[in-house]
């Protein structure tokens, strides 16, 4: 992305006094072997080694000079190993640089950082770059990658993310943080590593933690059955929806809610630990480890609705009207209703078309073709 926002390409890395002091201490305390940097205190002095050079028998002050002369190696070690970074954050910040490729060597890493390395996390473009004080991160909506920074609302405090992501660009509340409706128009700038993962954790909560667990082979997936068995109170009814007659209903739930068009998490849960669902779990970078609260709440409603027995109704529609009903369902299900133009009467879901259908086919009480829902009572609504 905008390498223009990053530092000049010839910017040299300077290494902080804390980093040097920490490396001296680490060299004395068992030594360091990290991304090509080896540093250790031996019988005849300190040893400082990179893939390009080796110096041995150094006094402490010569060792410190070696550090200053090879700032990238020292900065790189200190960034990843020097602080008290959580294993998940550390793994994520490394992944931001070299992705799933083999670990980059340090010169490659720093050349890339000087250019700015951008990766997507959901709809967020995360750019790692070099700034004053070492690695700096910038976050923005991936659709804003081409937007000049001054045109975006800039933030430096990760906590600002809470308000930023609450509503979509149309002002609608986003109850599911990983819905692909992240608003545009903002940028986090100048974040350090900790602030970067903090901001992401507010935009897409727990995604870094679960992504890391998955990479380590430790993701605790809870499938549909166990999740619904666990529910209590008003949600305990959901377990009755599983009748030992297959899992087609769960396919429908996943197709409705978990499709990539609805949620950017990659669904890893299935019906139970032996039964995967037949619908696609998605291609998202971060996993979904159990049905979320939105799915649980919706499943409660569906459990009640699906308890009803089908009936045969007779409606009279023209072929065009039948197709229009289908078009309306598609438009609503795909969230396209607001995109259908005012005068586009070619679209079945157009408002005038739909109002015409209602005027013609629904009676005063809103019954389709005047057909009562319950044939006995004449009309019924739940």
């Amino acid at each position: 992305m905008s390498a223009t926002d990053g530092p000049a390409a010839d910017e040299r890395v300077t290494v902080s006094d804390e980093a040097v002091a920490a490396l001296v201490a680490a060299a004395e305390n068992g030594g360091v072997d990290f991304d090509g940097l080896r540093a250790v205190s031996e019988g005849d002095g300190y040893r400082f080694e990179t893939p390009e050079m080796t110096r041995a028998g150094l006094t402490e002050s010569e060792f410190r000079d070696a550090c200053t002369n090879h700032p990238e190696y020292v900065d790189n070690w200190y960034f990843f190993e020097g602080g008290d970074r959580s294993p998940a954050d550390r793994a994520f910040l490394r992944w931001l640089e070299d992705g799933d490729a083999e670990s980059w060597d340090v010169p490659t890493r720093y050349d890339a950082l000087r250019e700015g390395v951008a990766r997507s996390w959901g709809q967020v473009a995360v750019t790692a770059m070099l700034g004053a004080g070492g690695r700096r991160y910038e976050l923005r909506h991936e659709d804003d990658l081409g937007t000049p920074l001054p045109d975006l609302e800039r933030h430096e405090d990760p906590l600002a993310a809470r308000d930023l992501v609450k509503h979509d660009d149309r002002g609608r509340y986003r109850p599911l943080k990983t819905a692909p409706s992240l608003p545009t128009g903002w940028a986090f700038v100048g974040l350090d590593g900790r602030a970067c993962t903090r901001a992401l954790d507010l935009i897409y909560p727990a995604t870094v933690a679960n992504w890391h667990l998955e990479r380590e082979g430790d993701l605790d997936v809870n499938h549909w059955r166990e999740t619904m068995e666990r529910q209590s109170g008003i949600y305990s009814v959901i377990k009755t929806w599983d009748r030992g007659e297959g899992y087609e209903h769960v396919n429908w739930v996943a197709e409705a809610c978990c499709d990539d068009s609805q949620c950017l998490k990659r669904r890893e849960w299935g019906y139970d630990d032996e039964t995967e669902l037949d619908v696609d779990g998605g291609d998202g970078e971060f996993p979904c480890r159990e049905p979320c609260s939105l799915v649980v709440a919706a499943a409660r409603k569906w459990t009640r609705l699906e308890g009803q027995q089908p009936r045969t109704y007779e409606f009279e529609l023209t072929p065009g009207e039948k197709e229009q009903v289908e078009a309306i369902i598609d438009a609503v299900a795909d969230g396209r209703v607001d995109d259908i133009r005012e005068a586009d009467i070619y679209e079945g879901g157009n408002r005038y078309r739909t109002r015409f259908l209602r005027a013609k086919r629904m009676d005063d009480t809103g019954r389709l073709c005047g057909v009562p829902t319950d044939p006995e009572e004449g009309s019924e609504d739940d």
Binding site: K166, H167, Y173, T178, P205, A209, S232, G233
Partner: protein
Amino acid sequence: MSQALVIVAHGSHLNPESSTPTYDHADTVREVGAFDEVRVGFWKEEPHFREVLRTVDAEEAYVVPLFISEGYFTEEVIPRELRLEDWDEAAWDSDGTSATSVTLTATDTGQRVHYCGPAGTHDAMTDVIVRRAESVTGDPDVGPGFGLAVVGHGTKRNENSAKAIQYHADRIRERGRFDEVRDLYMDEDPEVDDVTDFFETEDVIVVPLFVADGYHTQEDIPEDMGLTDDYRTGWETPAVVDGHRIWYAGAVGTEALMADVLLERAADAGADVGDAVQRVRELTRVGGESADRDAGAPTADD
């Protein structure tokens, strides 16, 4: 060893403002720097109760439910969703308002969790109700000549909910600051609808014991008390009803001093909070820096 405060609250799929008081109180606690991390988790938002602990680096987590009373959520839902090993509600040894804390292990993360009783039944909550009365009247010395009503659900939904209301009403009454103090309910006697029948004083402050503003506090109660015929048109503060001036405070949970209750819950459970309690009390007093944060608005789902 590093310690985290984790505030767990209900949240909402429908109401964007339901989480606002939770975030505001978390910010206040953050401001005084008593914890290495302050996190929030929700039942209906993210991070969910199920996943909040894995976003916490600290091995020691003080979990405080931002709920008004003990009951279904504090005794069943939260411990289950946090995977607190060997949780047993008897561990709190509570009479319905006296839960303190219990230390357990979260089985998924291995963290030590000090699981605290809800904010709403802590003694410090009494002060928050009084502070709410001060904020709504704009008078730090309000009391003489005023009546105070503490309002909650009745026992129909949760027996302990009424206990919490009574508990705080009794404590405020004992202090003798207000001329009259009553506990009133939405779905049983004495009913909040008849609020003016229960007070001699001309001025009556009404404080609903709810965490966030929502349907009950912004629609039901104002209409039932006759502050307005239609909540959408709003109401005056104070509003004159049957010759009484009603100062309606809205949900107590939006009061900035709530942050103090969360801190005290954690401190009671063994967290090292230094002078943070004192500082939060300063920060949130009427006219204080964090006192004017506006929090809360309608909520509609459960």
